[in-house]
Amino acid sequence: MDSVVGERGLTYDARGLAEPDAVAPKVAEIDGDRASFDATGLSTRQINLELRRLLYEGGVEHVTVRNPGAKHSLGVGILRRCSIHFEGSLGYFGLGIIDGPEVTVTGRVGWSVCENMMSGVVVVEHNAGSLTGAALRGGDLVIRGDVGARTGIDQKGGTILVGGNAGLLTGFMMQRGRQIICGDTGPGLGDSMYDGAIYVGGKVANLGIDCVEEELSEADLEVLDRKLGMYGFDQPSSGFRKFVCGKVLYNYDSLEPAERKLIL
């Protein structure tokens, strides 16, 4: 007999495509402005609807989600100040397009966590997949473990702080904001970046096209001290190196006004 494991063990569409009429399950235990619920057996859409019910209609400020089960697209589109605590891991595209929440994830996250995040603080206690913080617009995204490839691809603002190592093409096509990588980075660091800064505490395999090293300024040291201190990271023994756009391929100044706004 086949064991029921992996996707064959799921009793719902993990991609969240098959529930146009789902409603919030109303399973949370609410205590004042705090609430918690067990996500076991709930679909992606049900979990997200329960979160929105609590945060938008229930007067709840702090939510704990137990057993998220690495389901995809959890906690997306939360557009207010609040705190959310996931006890477990998230799948891909978790916490996308959020604006304001302060989130902790005790486990790991899949690819594209915090894609297009506008503001807030997200702290992941373990590793993250590729495309971490893709198109990030603002806020702090903290990964205490390692991250995969293309961290902060198309990043347009905010801070990505990685306690461990980062994969290849970190900061690919980055346009604004900053990345602080405490460990090593893979090949192609900062490839085709337009702007922003990448600080690396470990070894850099090699630089991508038009990425160059620059001296750290007083302002850089202040940012590093503040961000590392806020999230309890130690300074690497060898200090940080800073990498920016070399501007050899730089065509910003000739952009049309409408195009310029796309990266502000």
Binding site: R52, G77, R80, G100, V121, G138, G139, M230, P257, L264
Partner: protein, 149 residues
């Protein structure tokens, strides 16, 4: 530098998108520093520092100091004299005042087009009303008739 906005003067020479044109009016806090001095940037943003506002700086649009409102993809011009050394701080305060006042064109668009319930003033004001609860797909344009095939 002119202290009157393009909106007030009726000038249509701007090639950018101006927050005043989108809103159809100018706002007092674009003209009076005292109206933004009490904005608490730390309280207005998540986390232990000013978070997303760190990337907001004073820019220039049409030769006028301005701050970019990413929620409406437009520049909000600042017409009062900005004290030296406080350029970015003032730009951030004007922007936060604009968002907290509900005057950003992006907020007006929420009322009309939001497809799922969400707080009207997002993360900037606690307890704002919910919009997007009764969204329905737009019907055909007025006067349009089905071709019948």
């Amino acid at each position: 530098m002119s202290t009157r906005s393009n909106y007030e003067t009726g000038s249509d020479r701007s090639i950018g998108i101006d927050a005043e044109r989108l809103a159809g009016r100018s706002f007092d806090y674009q003209h009076d520093l005292s109206l933004v001095e009490d904005v608490d940037l730390l309280a207005a943003t998540p986390g232990g520092d000013i978070n997303w506002l760190e990337d907001v700086t004073l820019l220039v649009e049409d030769g006028v100091p301005a701050v970019f409102d990413r929620y409406s993809n437009s520049f909000l011009k600042i017409y009062f004299p900005i004290p030296a050394g406080r350029e970015d701080e003032i730009a951030r305060k004007v922007l936060v005042k604009h968002l907290q006042s509900g005057n950003s064109y992006g907020i007006a668009l929420k009322e009309r087009h939001a497809k799922f319930p969400q707080p009207e003033l997002g993360p900037w004001v606690a307890g704002s009303r919910t919009v997007g609860e009764d969204w329905a797909p737009p019907g055909p344009p007025e006067g349009w008739e089905s071709p019948g095939h």
